[in-house]
Amino acid sequence: MAISKRVVLHFPSRMVEQPIIYRLVKDYNLVLNILKASVTPKEEGIMVLELSGARADYDGGIRYLQEAGVKIQSLGQDIMRNDARCTHCGACVVICPTGALALDPKSRMVDFNEDKCTACELCVLACPPRAMEVYF
């Protein structure tokens, strides 16, 4: 049975340089889509991944990660921006009630501030290229 799940991985700083992701693909046959990654040397790395593959491989991959010391969190409902689709038009800035989506007057790009986002979803259908995505 195939399965596809979104997870947040927290890497302790000592692991940032290890080829963890490579092992997931190579040893567990998982297809992965990196939704977000921020890995700074000397700090904890965070990566939001969509993992798909056979159920057994998925479970094996998760066990491997846990054993390697990666903290795994499954993603609660969350709004994320697919930066590859966002055209920075600005249509969302008048829709978002919390100011999480706001136009930077200098760069004329739209910044998404997740800390201000309440996941109200108003932007999801209002965004013309559908760049705002809901994750469970």
């Binding site: 689709r85 055209t87 920075h88 038009c89 600005g90 249509a91 969302c92 800035v93 008048v94 829709i95 136009l103 007057p105 760069s107 004329r108 790009m109 259908l125 209002a126 013309p128 290229p129 559908r130």
Partner: protein, 402 residues
């Protein structure tokens, strides 16, 4: 000071052309004055990246074995109906076409998640697309049914052909009613909840050449990430729209019909787009180079957002009812500040056209020209100008008597 396009092309060929974008030229003119800037600058590049519904593409599929005649039959790409009324294997796909079973606005506002614009984006991205054809069968084209994957690289021709793009100025949309409305200008909240505009303003191609003195039929341009051409004036081209003293239109005025090889384009610059409650469309990137042939032409390219005005139109009343009333006028300078004051209210503004991506287009075009990869073309005929006295006509309805 008079330059010719041939002279500018010679400089481009030698890698000596001086190119600036339509935003940079503003500062340059402020610093050096028109005369000096006109001597120094050879080309000003423009750009715009917004939803443009009158876009589409035509394809030649190649003949199947045995042959099938799509003409007069029905054809679909990823369930989106295409126009089959041409010859045997030529089809036209419009940006606003949607699958027959799309729920549309049955539950209002419909999401319009997928349509012709999205198919164009996927084709350009190199994805396989499902072609389904049903035909009536003839002696020379016997096949009646065809279902196959197709890919843009295997098609004989894939041509983007947009009958109206790059509007020279556009309405600012507001909603005076007391309920939210869903329009092609985006979601408009009640009682002047927001004001949406859709123009790159000072970077927009036709606002930098308001009387079409350099932009004409045959002008080569940036289209969807590749190179294209102006094929004709766009539909609804209306040069006689109200203009400011400096010649810049204050209403929707000129438009362009553009054409180019889809195979060279990129999904970054052709984005399938969904307007909630309205329909599907395509966001198109266009950039036109303006050769600085005279001081007058340079002066036009130095136009600033503060000096470009647009009409504010009520999309809950006068727009759908085709009444000419406007709520007011506002400059792009004010619109881009994020707020305009209207009827005693501070109204937040939003754009549907991406200014940062318009800058990227103008800079890409600049790059191509500086590197000698893009030469300017001499227009083969001008676009119809103010002197033609074109009037933009409404439909004249005449009852059909049985």
């Amino acid at each position: 000071m008079i330059k010719t396009i041939a002279e500018i092309n010679e400089k481009i060929g030698k890698g000596q052309a001086v190119v600036v974008n339509a935003e940079e030229v503003i500062g340059l003119v402020a610093k050096k004055g028109v005369a000096r800037a006109a001597r120094e600058v050879d080309v000003v590049t423009t750009g715009t990246f917004g939803p443009m519904c009158s876009s589409g593409a035509y394809f030649n599929l190649g003949h199947s074995r045995p042959r099938i005649k799509v003409g007069g039959g029905r054809a679909y790409l990823n369930d989106v109906p295409v126009y089959p009324g041409l010859a045997a294997v030529d089809i036209f796909l419009g940006a606003t076409a949607i699958p027959d079973d799309d729920p549309r606005n049955r539950i209002h506002p419909g999401p319009f998640n997928y349509g012709g614009g999205h198919v164009i984006e996927e084709l350009v991205a190199g994805k396989d697309v499902r072609l389904v054809v049903s035909a009536y069968g003839t002696d020379c084209y016997p096949r009646k049914r065809l279902e196959t994957w197709i890919n843009i690289k295997d098609l004989n021709e894939a041509v983007l052909f947009n009958v109206r793009n790059a509007y020279q100025n556009y309405n600012v949309a507001v909603n005076l009613s007391d309920k939210t409305i869903y329009t092609y200008m985006g979601v408009l909240k009640p009682k002047l909840g927001n004001a949406n505009y859709c123009s790159a303003g000072q970077l927009s191609p036709l606002l930098n050449d308001p009387y079409y003195k350099t932009i004409g039929i045959g002008t080569r341009l940036f289209l969807g990430g590749g190179m294209g051409y102006i094929a004709w004036h766009g539909t609804q081209h209306n040069p006689d729209a109200l203009r400011s003293a400096d010649g810049v239109p204050r209403r929707g005025a000129g438009t362009l019909a553009v054409i180019g090889d889809l195979k060279q384009m990129s999904p970054r610059w052709l984005v399938g787009t969904s307007m909630l409650g309205y329909g599907s469309t395509l966001t198109v990137g266009i950039g036109v180079p303006i050769p600085i042939l005279s001081e007058e032409i340079l002066r036009y390219t130095a136009v600033k957002d503060e000096d470009i005005f647009a009409a504010i139109v009520d999309y809950s009343g006068s727009y759908p009812q085709m009444s000419p009333d406007v709520v007011g006028e506002v400059s792009y300078g004010e619109l881009k500040s994020g707020r305009i004051s209207l009827k005693g209210k501070q109204v937040p503004t939003a754009s549907l056209s991406s200014y940062s991506r318009a800058v990227e287009i103008a800079n890409t075009l600049k790059d191509w020209i500086v590197k000698g990869e893009f030469l300017l073309t001499e227009p083969v005929a001008p676009l119809p100008g103010v002197e033609e006295g074109i009037t933009f006509k409404p439909l004249k309805e005449r009852p059909i008597e049985e």
